[in-house]
Symmetry: C2
Subunit: 288 residues, 2 copies
């Protein structure tokens, strides 16, 4: 049985579009409506069947929805949530798919005139790619992906359970944590790798890149991600990104120093420690 | 027509095994003999048909070979080359597949008693993976991969041409450069990404890694590489790795500072520059 009658997705790009496709596949909603910023995206989303219908403004899109998902760039989420709340029906649940949580959840929970009977729960489905746009949407994007759902003193337990169940039906592996804990965790496993990849692609001269093999390619893959989007992610998580950045810096210079001083014993021991940790990462699809 | 009658491969792991399979596929030699360190590897290599036959010592393996390829860990290559030279037939060409070149080529060119009618040309086929062992060998490993071949004042032009032709028949895209130029280039596009990936895997606590998604996975993939092997690569290319390391460090802290100070304009401009460079990397298989 469908968990929701109608779900509205605000922002139908790679993430929003994949949510739409995954909802269809899971059957957890009877109807999916998209809220679009541009007509051309609406047409593309209808064509690839990411949504059943689409509108160009938030008020029309959310009015009849039981669940409203905001899959827009981080810095737009609080304002879109405010508009969604104003027009949502009583009992509706709002969530988002933003990559930082404390800044977003704080702003939304403190929205002036927030109705008591519309619930907000922060989410971060940890999937995506360096590509942007609904044409890269995939119905299996969230399968076996970690999905962090946030809990604060103001979070409604029923809404939290519904949101967890929703992401689970899309294939996500749910972790519940506070927005601050989320931001610290993703600063290490997502934001830091992006800072590192962007820096590596920025540091290596174009001329040398002609000889690049798979190692360079993989290590810098996420440096092809959208600059505006990632600037806002980094900037809404400044403190945690700075801390994670300092942590990496210490490890990096420890290894560089061991190499520069020709200390083989120390070099091998650092590399062994890193490898043993990396080897613990299970393959995403163990059978493939 | 086969370019060589008999090729000897000293060291039949991922690289040596893939060379054997690729030779078979290309038909550039009539016979491939492997020189092994351990009996168990010999059995595996015969089973996956990476070589036609195998022996357990260099002298027996190289005696009748027209081409001798040393695909062993970097620090063993000069000694293996010395032993190969002593037993090679007149006119034989020796090459290697080591990831650093100045240290190796210098040592080999200065080998005491180096016969004048046995030629050495340094090679570095830039392919591989974080896996080790002949069971991961692939006949297409070198297809469309960059392959650097080194030239020094002592390099025989005929041998250089033969070696270039050989790697080309295995699918490699040949670049000829001096050992020093090679070391500088790969310090940037291969050694630096490994230092960065090892440091990232080393810095992030295991607890947080449970939430890691594809970004972290790709950025740290090469941190699963063999520690001893990579320690020796780094240590035989200390100067260039240190220089490349400093270059990355400057770029990294420039970005971190832009984030920490909330400078959106600068952050976006740094990310844009990195993305534009990364986007220039052509996909390895343009059709896939």
């Amino acid at each position: 049985m469908a968990q929701f009658n109608k779900i509205a997705i605000i922002g139908v790009g790679l993430i929003g579009g994949s949510i739409g496709l995954a909802i269809k596949k899971s059957g957890c909603a009877r109807e999916v409506i998209g809220v679009f910023h541009r007509e051309v995206t609406l047409k593309k989303a209808l064509k690839c069947k990411a949504v059943d219908s689409g509108v160009m403004n938030v008020a029309d899109g959310v009015r009849a929805a039981d669940l409203i998902i905001i899959a827009a760039p981080v810095h737009l989420i609080p304002a879109l949530a405010a508009r969604a709340m104003k027009n949502a029906k009583p009992g509706a649940i709002i969530t988002d798919a933003g990559s930082t949580k404390e800044w977003i959840v704080n702003k939304i929970e403190k929205t002036p005139g927030k109705p008591a009977n519309v619930y907000f729960v922060g989410s971060h489905p940890m999937a995506g790619s360096e590509h942007a746009g609904v044409r890269f949407a995939r119905e299996d994007l969230f399968e076996e992906s970690p999905c962090i759902v946030t809990r604060t003193p103001r979070t409604d337990p029923g809404a939290l359970a519904q949101i967890s169940r929703f992401w689970r039906s899309l294939g996500g592996r749910i972790k519940v944590m506070s927005p601050r804990e989320h931001d610290r965790t993703v600063s290490l496993i997502s934001h830091l790798p992006h800072v590192v990849a962007f820096s590596l692609a920025g540091a290596v001269p174009v001329k040398e890149m002609a000889c690049a093999a798979e190692g360079f390619r993989d290590t810098t893959r996420v440096a092809s991600s959208d600059p505006e989007l990632w600037a806002d992610i980094f900037l809404t998580n400044r403190k945690a990104v700075s801390d994670a950045g300092a942590l990496f810096g210490r490890q990096y210079y420890k290894l560089l120093k061991a190499i520069a001083t020709g200390n083989r014993l120390l070099t091998v021991s650092i590399l062994r420690h890193s490898k043993s940790k990396r080897d613990k990462l299970l393959p995403r699809h163990p059978t493939s």
